[in-house]
Subunit: 232 residues, 2 copies
Amino acid sequence: MSHPSDRQAPDLAALIARNRPRFRTATEFVEAAMREAILEGVLPAGAPLRQEDLAAAFGVSRMPVREALRQLEARALVEFHPHRGAVVAEISAEDSADIGAIRAALEPAALRLSLLHLTTDDLALATELIAEMDAEADPGRMGELNRRFHMTLYSRAGRPRLLALVEQHLAAADRYLRFQFSALGYHPRSQDEHHALLAACRAGDADAACDIVVRHVIQAGEQLSAFLDGRG
Amino acid sequence: MSHPSDRQAPDLAALIARNRPRFRTATEFVEAAMREAILEGVLPAGAPLRQEDLAAAFGVSRMPVREALRQLEARALVEFHPHRGAVVAEISAEDSADIGAIRAALEPAALRLSLLHLTTDDLALATELIAEMDAEADPGRMGELNRRFHMTLYSRAGRPRLLALVEQHLAAADRYLRFQFSALGYHPRSQDEHHALLAACRAGDADAACDIVVRHVIQAGEQLSAFLDGRG
DNA sequence: TGCCTGGATATTGGATCCAATTTACCTGTC
DNA sequence: GACAGGTAAATTGGATCCAATATCCAGGCA
C-alpha cells in the first residue's frame, strides 16, 4: 500500500498532509511538522524560514508559525535574528562534536538506569529493529530505526526528562547521520556495535554495554567530524 | 497600585523594571523575565499563568507573552493545557531525581573537557565565588553564586550546546535548592565539597574532580528527594 | 570612481479583534 | 435535595491589522 515514493518523497506538502489531523491546536501541529521537516532534511540547514510562506504552506495564519518557531528556537533547531527572520540552524563539525559529547554523557546514564528493567519484549523489539536496519536502504527510515533501537534500550530508565533529552539529541544527531549516510554510505561496523550492545544488555552487563555505547557515539562523531572538516 | 485582583507576586514588578531595557524585542524580555521569575520562585510551581494578567504586568500585549510561554514550554518550565491555559511546571521528588541524573551525567563531562583549559583567572574567580557564598544568606543570591561557581569551572569546555544544557539544568536544580534552603537551611558540607572540587581542579586531577562533582550532585539530589518524599 | 546617505520595500514584531472551547453556574426536573 | 442539561462568562487559540526595523537600490558628494 505504501510504495517507496510515498513516504520517501518527503516534500513539505506531503509531510503536512500526513500530520494535520493528529493535533488539536495548529501550533502543536506546525511545531511537530516543522521539527520533523528539519530533522529529516526537508528544510535544509541555513534555509530561511519566511513566516508568510510557511503559513501559506500549512494553511494557517502567521501566528501559529511564530509560536512554533519560538519552540524550535528553544530546542536549538532554528535561530532567530531580530527583525531579520529565522533560519534553520546550521550544522558544523563543532556542533556535531558538541552533540556527540552530550550523547556520550547522557546515553550511558540512561542505559545504566534502564538495563536491569528491560523486559524480554524490549529485547525482542531491539533485535527486530536491528534486523530491519539490515534490510533498510533509505537514510530517513534508517535514522528512525536507529533512534528507536537506542530508545528501546533506554526506555525503562524511568526518568522522563532524561529520556526526552536523549531522544532530542539522538534526533539532532540524525541530521548529521543522514548527511553522512548519503555521502559515505552506511558502514556495517555500526551494526556490529549494535549487536554487541544488545548482547551486553541481554547479559545484564552494564559496564560493557555503557562502554559500547560511548565508543559507538564517539566513533560516529569522529568520523563525521573528519568528514565535515574535509569538506569545509 | 497592586490591588487584590492582581494574582502575581508583588515583586514581579521590580523584576520587570530591572530587566526591561536590556532586551530589544518584547518577547525576549518577557521570556527572560519569566524564566527568572519561575526559577527564583516568584512564580511558584503550579501557579496559573493568565496571559492577560501577565501582559498587563509586563506592559505589553498578549502576543509576546504567548511566544515567551511557548519557549518556556520547550524548556519544561511551564506546561500547556490546550484551551485551559499554562501553569508553572510542578516540582516533585521524581523530577528532582530526574534533574539530578542529568546533572550527574553532564557536569563531569563538561568539567573533563574544561579542566585543562582553565586559566588562573578562572580559578581565582571560582575562589572568590566560594568566599561570597560563605557570606551570603539570601537563597536567591546563593543559588546564583552556586551556579556561577559551577559554570566557571565548566566554561572552557568549548562546547556551547553542552554548556547551555548544563546551565539550564543547574538553574532547574536551583528551583529545588532554593526550596530546600529555606526549609532546611544550607549545610556547610556543600561548601566543603566546593573547596575540594576547586582543589582538584587546581591540581588538574580530572578523575578526582569528576568524582567530587558526581557525588556532590547525587548527594544533593538524595537529600532533596528524601525531603520532598517526607512532605508528600 | 567609491562611499555615504536617504528613501522605498519587504519582513518581522506587536496590538487588536474574532472564534472556538472550556468551565462554572443556574435552572428545571426527577 | 441531587443530578442533568443548558446557557453565559471567561480564557485561550487564531486571524488580521498596524508599526518598527532591516535590507536594497539609487543618487549625490567628495
